[in-house]
Symmetry: C2
Subunit: 216 residues, 2 copies
DNA sequence: GATATAGTGGACGAAGTGTTCATTAGTGGA
DNA sequence: TCCACTAATGAACACTTCGTCCACTATATC
């Protein structure tokens, strides 16, 4: 099916525009129509996911909520899995690049986990997170999204621990890997496997327990 | 529509049978047909949930897998939520009534969490658990199921802690509530929010860390 | 065997899914 | 400003799934 290059010279591809898939891949002068449409779709998908759960995220509902035709939704996200992934990726992940460490560990941990806890205490955001956890079990691409999400958190916590060790707040032989899993885990476990509230108060309790137990 | 009691005496309700809903409620001489059908449906639903995830659990698929007519599936579980709940309840929850405590905490914890970890390291069982966590956010009835599931685990762990305290393996002022959340949480968090494996080795690491940190 | 309920399977309209296609709208280069 | 090109549209399509209904058969108890 290769085009015959000896065809009518006026039929040259003179103004090639990047197509949808090329833009999705990343580097290409973006067509504003594509950007607009994609943003509308991902926003709508995320909102629907938070509000009504994963079952509510279909091409039809999303297209309607995004004021976009159903056909377009299929063009951008051919499968339901891709649509769901887009919805989950719409989650605003906190950037810790500019995090400023304070003078004591408790304050640092409170600041770091504040937003995490806020997400957990919000039912809609929790639905989104639980959906991510569930889907990541099937969907390798989504598992990567999840890992990137967590990759934001971990180095900041590790740094906080290191500072605390330097200050003598924590024992020097602390297992950093287990330490951060302990704190995050207490929050996640309590949110998703118990009926107990996960709020600032509980976070404080977890942090205090952690510090008291890991003091030198 | 009250029956006229003066009607033909042979038309008395002579052999009233309990209906489906009464049996579902619990106490009633169970109709073997109902028991058989229910078991077939819940088994099939659980298997489907584990194998293909919650989206695969519909009245049609379950009925087909259970060799039961679609109509019957609707009769027993009128909504999809009810069907999913049945699937999740089919999870065999370990009974700890007969648990025998040993002479050291590490062994006790290993034995207690062994099955929990086995579930987490199995992808299918993990799907079931993640579905439970997600659905419990919408479905109050399912939240209760989840709590009952956890209620099996907690007292055994608390007892293990208490024995350990008596033996001098743990500090006496240990916060039991946070302690068990710490261990369970490390496992759950690592399973559902990281790509790292949760296996016997990891469990040992968690337990060793916990004990070393909470020693008197 | 009489009687009552559970389970069956076909049929149904309604709704949803995934695709195609001719048409319209919006974009950037000439 | 015009033009070539692609994105987006919406109507139409065959197809599947959903939930419900009903006459009928199977099975359990007395």
């Amino acid at each position: 099916m290769a085009d015959d290059t000896s065809a009518n010279p006026t039929s040259f591809v003179m103004h090639p525009r990047p197509d949808i898939d090329a833009c999705a891949a990343g580097h290409c002068e973006p067509d504003p129509r594509v950007e607009r449409t994609r943003a509308a779709i991902t926003d709508a998908a995320g909102t629907l996911l938070r509000a009504d759960g994963p079952d509510a995220v279909t091409h039809a509902t999303v297209a309607s909520a995004a004021n976009v035709s159903r056909t377009t939704a299929y063009k951008h996200y051919p499968t339901r899995a891709a649509l769901l992934r887009a919805a989950i990726e719409s989650m605003d992940k906190h950037e810790f690049g500019d995090f400023e460490f304070g003078d004591d560990l408790a304050t640092d941990l409170r600041n770091i986990f504040m937003e995490f806890v806020a997400n957990l205490s919000d039912v809609e955001q929790s639905k989104l997170m639980a959906t991510m956890m569930l889907q990541a079990l099937h969907d390798a691409a989504l598992a990567e999204v999840r890992d990137e999400f967590m990759a934001e958190l971990r180095p900041v916590i590790s740094d906080a621990f290191r500072h605390a060790i330097e200050r003598g707040e924590l024992r020097a032989d602390l297992d950093l890997e287990l330490a951060w899993r302990t704190i995050s885990g207490s929050l996640v476990f309590t949110r998703f496997l118990t009926s107990d509230p996960v709020n600032a108060e509980f976070l404080d309790r977890v942090i205090d327990y952690f510090i008291s137990v890991n003091a030198p």
